[in-house]
Amino acid sequence: MKEIVVISGKGGTGKTSITASFAVLAGDDVVVADCDVDAADMHILLQPENIKSEDFYSGELAVIDEDACIQCGKCFDVCRFDAVEVINDVHTINELSCEGCGYCARVCPTEAITNEPLNVGKWHVANTRFNQPFVHAKLGIGADNSGKLVAQVKNIAKETANKNNKPYVLVDGSPGVGCPVVSSLSGAHFVVLVTEPSVSGLHDLKRVYELVKKFRIKAGCIINKADINKDIASEILEFLKEEDIVHLSNLPYDETFTKAMTDCKTIVEIDDSKIKEAISESWEKIKEILN
């Protein structure tokens, strides 16, 4: 089983549309995982039906038992996250600020503080409209630990693939370079970088590739809207060469891209588009590299 992760550094480059297109092309061979747990969108294109949903707990939250509290202020003194608030001389925990470090509970003289497991979201196993297993999740508002939820989604997807003998796990990765994307990348066999030829696109590509390098994962790149700025497109090509990243394809600036999404379809379901050809070509190249 091979795991392919699609990332882009920044959003809005067409990453999710491209990943969903790969999913359609892969047909029965794939388990799909949406690891953009912060702003998951793939379900819009793949319209899954959930078959199993579970709450996800990670980390802890301090809770003060008002009856046991003697308002001594020790918790307030030790908390480094300004999570203990004193309102009318009563100590309370601000749930959004508490990092669940547990320090306050350790110093409370009356054991008034307990650490409760924190529900950070929900994950689902589903079937896409192409009848493929699909694992996705929704992070709770303001929740920490999105990296752990990403790891959970990936683990479930891998288990599902192993159980059903699917050769590929296809992952729509998270944005940025922080903890969720670190979790998205760990254990991957191939990374697809989706970029666009703009100063910010190139900047983000270079930054996120620094991270990919740390994991020593083989990478390929798709340049979306390649014709919008030819100079930067050729700069990107140079960068790919220098770093030994496979250039998978160029996609033209084409309103069909958005039109397909507006109809809740993937681009490869729209006939006769140049984009369809380029994406199919990319998918074949990826399979060749992996096998």
């Binding site: 809005g12 912060d38 992070l139 930054r207």
Partner: protein
Amino acid sequence: MKIAIASGKGGTGKTTLSTNLASFMAEKRDVVLSDLDVEEPNSGLFLKSELFFAEDKFKMIPEWNNVDCTLCGKCQDVCNYHAIIQIVDTIMVFPELCHSCFACSELCPTNSLPMGQKKMGELQHFKTSTFDFIESKLLIGEEQAVPLIKQTLDYVDENFSTDVVKIYDSPPGTSCPVIEATKDADFIILITEPTPFGLNDVILAIDTMKELKKDFAIVINRYGIGNDDILKYCDENNIPIIGKIPNQRAIAELYSKGELLYDKIPEVKTELENIVSYLESHILK
């Protein structure tokens, strides 16, 4: 006055709006723009500016001093993040996992874990010809954006008076970094695209702002693509739409070159005027 520009997901035009709005408002007011998307700061690419000040930003982590340590194991027990462990007769710290809670350090019976600084990123303060611009960048491999966002906000508060209009380009999403970046703001502008993805993501952002009890409004980017669902949604839920930036290939091309829009595309300037007049009547005195 603090205005945060946010969106449910990245790539909807947050940076475009932040940089254009800051430049436009700076024609009449004192403005400081801060890029709080510390994982992928981009605003600086769109501004001609000179570096005014730079400093490294640190987080605090415990540093083991083996002289007095009795290997009692307490530090390992109190760390909720498994960031400090005892391996035979050595205490090891994993800096990327440490949340700097100080528990191990302050609860160590022999004071063997003084907290020391570790670099997590850099803050840079630039000046354009009309306004100040602050950008922080997380080191690659550092996983936690929140402490750096916090320190960047502190820097802005320390260096600029309350009369200055503070514009924050927030990180994308609805999780901890965006909460940190917006929780202090007086007003939030959510920017989205009129597509199913855009609608899905902006609803998440709207829910987040409601949860935080924030005053907010919507700006639609690439207006003209997709469908009208976002207009209907905002109408039904009484959410003000205060600007509509049109979809034009010319805009995509200027953006790709890292250029500002409003001095070249009159429609964009009109929309900025609409946004500012809304801000003026609602929050700016």
